[in-house]
Subunit: 143 residues, 2 copies
DNA sequence: GTACATGCAAATTCTTTGCAACCCA
DNA sequence: TGGGTTGCAAAGAATTTGCATGTAC
């Protein structure tokens, strides 16, 4: 984890972005809450406990930056706000099972899509960079 | 197409919703612009040419209603607004290829996901009602 | 020292809501 | 007729922006 942070700092540094305390605490907050699909507001409240003076605009600007750098992935679950999580390109992609009753979002891993992707790429001349699969339904508890 | 409209009117009627002229023109506008992934504002401008007095709030209320009835599907392409299209449950699901350069959204059909879905359903006890696959990359023209 | 970052508040944008007038069934 | 619907304007919610001040490098 410290290793991951270092890697990110280096990525920022390489592109001449400053490693500000705000950026550090925001990254730490996200890192300490894995698989939480945090919104800007979520991160704001997490970070305000240690850095009360931080502004919500800084959160938004930082999240935008990190998403541009492909460090975070910006996602949307149709609940009116964007949510963010690490974009671990080295790991397998994971997808989301969204319960329409309780709203819980679970994750699952999968490789099956890869065969599908190569087929699409060939057929449509589309260069695939990323994908997102959302499955809606009722989770075990609500079913 | 007239048949589809009739089916929708019947669905509305069955649930005691009124078939107002506004609802009719909104449905027609969406029907006459297939595969366009229209936003509320898009539909507003389409409809205003023939019904200048219509209000944007009516568009939103109608789209909400139609999405609740699963006549439309509400989708999100991270461009800051919701987009809508018919939810043709009888047809095969189609998914989206989103170009990160020009923003074009193309569709493709697929059944491969079904094997994946039954596996998930069994393993996680998750009852699947719907799914959405988005693939990001560069389209043929931008590549 | 300087250009990039931040905090604050105001502005924007999308969407929702309250309410009186309206009109489909 | 009467309750669902509409249009309008105002309210809300999420996100962005302008600008003076602050600070990483």
């Amino acid at each position: 984890m410290a290793q991951k942070l270092e890697w990110i700092f280096r990525k920022l540094h390489d592109r001449e972005y400053k490693i500000t305390p705000q950026r550090q605490v925001i990254l730490k907050a996200i890192m300490e809450n894995p698989s939480q699909h945090l919104s800007a507001e979520d991160i704001y409240s997490l970070v305000k406990t240690t850095n009360p003076e931080i502004g919500l605009a800084t959160i938004y600007r930082t999240l935008d930056l990190l998403a541009d750098l492909e460090i975070l992935q910006k996602m949307n679950f149709n609940d009116g706000r964007s949510r963010y999580e690490f974009n671990d390109q080295d790991e397998h992609h994971h997808h989301h099972l969204i319960c329409l009753r309780c709203g819980k979002v679970a994750e699952f891993e999968d490789d099956l899509l890869e065969t599908l992707e190569t087929a699409i790429a060939k057929k449509r001349g589309f260069e695939i960079l990323d994908h997102q699969l959302k499955i809606y339904g009722h989770c075990k508890d609500c079913h």
